[in-house]
């Protein structure tokens, strides 16, 4: 479904990614794990078209994405819920979700999408007139995921949905992520919370200093001595 082939990405003169390759198959939940600043967000932002790779390619269902503008990539079915959520603070929850369904196709289907998002996150429905900036961190995260779903993605990318949230809320959000995946949407999950991510994902890639440092089944990575040592604190 998604194929990232050996991409190099730069911020000005600084090289952030070195020959990163990864794959996501239809219906999968794949996780990118690794330390802060390892380049996880850079990978998903490149797939979304916010950054343009200097080398390599990104292919989604047979279409090359790496030269396409972001709004085309959204139209093709890839949606990113960005790090730090990026909600529109002065707009209401309803308007945030409406803007999420901006592409013509998703706009036609928006009544269904509203129903789906409100079922997953009932709290958004009860507060739909409220300005998004007044929501708590957890609610803002729910809104960001909901907004990303409004474009009817085939692949949903979530950048650190657990960041800064209380453990109880993280559990709730991860349950919803699993539900979304079970409904048929493939998911690429970026997480620093490694045990939680590996508990949810079927496969995972370890990102280290802008390179893929390892990959495998989530279960086997959980038992891997190196992973335990570096990320789980149980080695």
């Amino acid at each position: 479904m998604l194929e990232v082939n050996s991409i190099d990405v730069y911020y000005g003169d600084f090289q952030a990614l070195w020959a990163v390759s990864l794959k996501v198959y239809e219906g999968e939940l794949v996780s990118l794990i690794g330390a802060n600043c390892a380049g996880k967000s850079t990978i998903v932002e490149t797939i979304s078209g916010l950054l343009i790779p200097a080398a390599g390619s990104v292919i989604f269902n047979g279409v090359r994405l790496d030269k396409e503008p972001t709004h085309h990539i959204v139209k093709l079915g890839i949606s990113l819920s960005p790090q730090e959520r990026g909600i529109f603070p002065a707009m209401s929850i309803l308007e945030n979700l409406e803007v999420g369904a901006f592409t013509p196709k998703s706009r036609n289907l928006r009544n269904d999408s509203f129903k789906l998002v409100y079922e997953l996150f009932p709290i958004l429905k009860s507060r739909k007139k409220q300005a998004a900036g007044t929501l708590s961190g957890g609610e803002q995260q729910m809104l960001a995921i909901g907004r990303a779903l409004m474009s009817k993605p085939k692949l949903l990318m979530l950048d650190e949905p657990s960041m800064g949230l209380a453990p109880l809320i993280v559990t709730a959000i991860f349950e919803v992520i699993q539900q979304i995946n079970e409904s048929g949407v493939s998911i690429l999950l970026v997480e620093q919370n490694v045990p939680a991510a590996l508990g949810l994902a079927s496969r995972a890639y370890i990102v280290e200093n802008g390179r893929i440092g390892g990959q495998g089944d989530a279960k086997s990575l959980l038992d891997d001595e190196k992973v335990k040592d570096a990320y789980l604190g149980t080695g």
């Binding site: 972001t70 707009m91 907004r147």
Partner: protein
């Protein structure tokens, strides 16, 4: 007598202020959405005035009737200028984008008056339909037709803009882009196209204001920078992010200047700058701006 004088002064102030507000709304819209400070905003106003003057002089078309035509022509000029000159700035970070947009604006500030001089000479031009001197006397206060019409048109423009921004999908995309352009892109909005249309809209509003400047005062190739400065003062007074606020701040400046003129005569021009300084010192986010 004095009551009537005060009332007349306030009415005059509102008339001028409506123009200030209209000009400022365009500037504020462009700055708010794309963080471009368009120093050439007043130049677009000047060109709009000349377009209406031309249509009036050559085809004898009433300036109120040619308003839509001026608005469309100025929209195209604005969108074209954006595509040619400003769109390259989009890739810069916010701060260098601001600085570079100032340079482009200054370039236009040099080019537009020169072209205007070549096309229409440096003569003062005024649009003078038959009714331009007429007024409606109410309780001893004279309501001149043309400024009254300008006030009404300004209100309609502001209301239409407000509805566009709050009720339509396009308007929501503009507000989303203002608040977080990255998320707007991720929602599938063509941010570059949103910028293009917004710039065109801001310039069209400046052009409409230019028509009224030509009707109420007069236009010449060098009036642009003065109106840019007025618009800047109003935007600072209002704060960024409120269309209605910018218009209301324009009315405030108009009335303050009109009342000030009674006491200060020729020094009235300084009043706006004093307000500018006071706001900068005591309330940098403006009267209606969000923190």
């Amino acid at each position: 007598m004095t009551v009537e004088l005060v009332a007349q002064t306030i009415v005059n102030g509102i008339h001028v202020g409506a123009l200030y507000g209209l000009v400022a709304v365009g500037l504020s819209l462009i700055f708010g959405v794309m963080k471009i400070l368009n120093i050439a905003h007043g130049e677009f106003l000047m060109v709009g005035g000349y377009v209406a003057f031309w249509v009036f002089d050559l085809y004898d078309t009433d300036p109120f009737l040619s308003l839509p035509l001026v608005a469309i022509a100025m929209f195209l000029l604005g969108a074209g200028s954006y595509k040619l000159l400003f769109s390259g700035l989009a890739k810069f970070h916010e701060e260098s984008k601001m600085e570079n947009s100032l340079l482009v604006g200054f370039g236009l500030f040099l080019v537009f008056p020169q072209i205007t001089r070549m096309l229409w000479t440096t003569d003062e031009r005024a649009i003078t339909p038959a009714y331009s001197g007429g007024s409606l006397p109410i309780l001893g206060v004279r309501l001149a037709y043309v400024p009254l019409g300008a006030l009404l048109v300004a209100l309609v423009v502001i209301l239409a803009l407000h509805l566009l921004l709050t009720k339509t999908y396009f308007g929501k995309s503009v507000r989303a882009t203002t608040q977080n352009w990255k998320s707007a892109k991720l929602a599938g909005i063509n941010v570059e196209r949103t910028y293009l249309i917004t710039f065109g809209l801001g310039v069209a509003i400046a052009g409409v204001a230019g028509v009224f400047v030509g009707l109420i005062h007069a236009i010449n190739p060098d009036i642009g920078i003065g109106w840019t400065l007025k618009a800047l003062i109003v935007v600072v007074l209002a704060g960024i992010g409120s269309i209605g606020g910018a218009f209301f701040a324009g009315l405030i400046l108009g009335v303050v200047e009109a009342v000030g003129a009674i006491f200060m005569g020729p020094y009235t021009v300084a009043l706006g700058l004093v307000i500018f300084l006071l706001i900068m010192i005591f309330r940098p986010r403006g009267l209606f701006g969000k923190a």
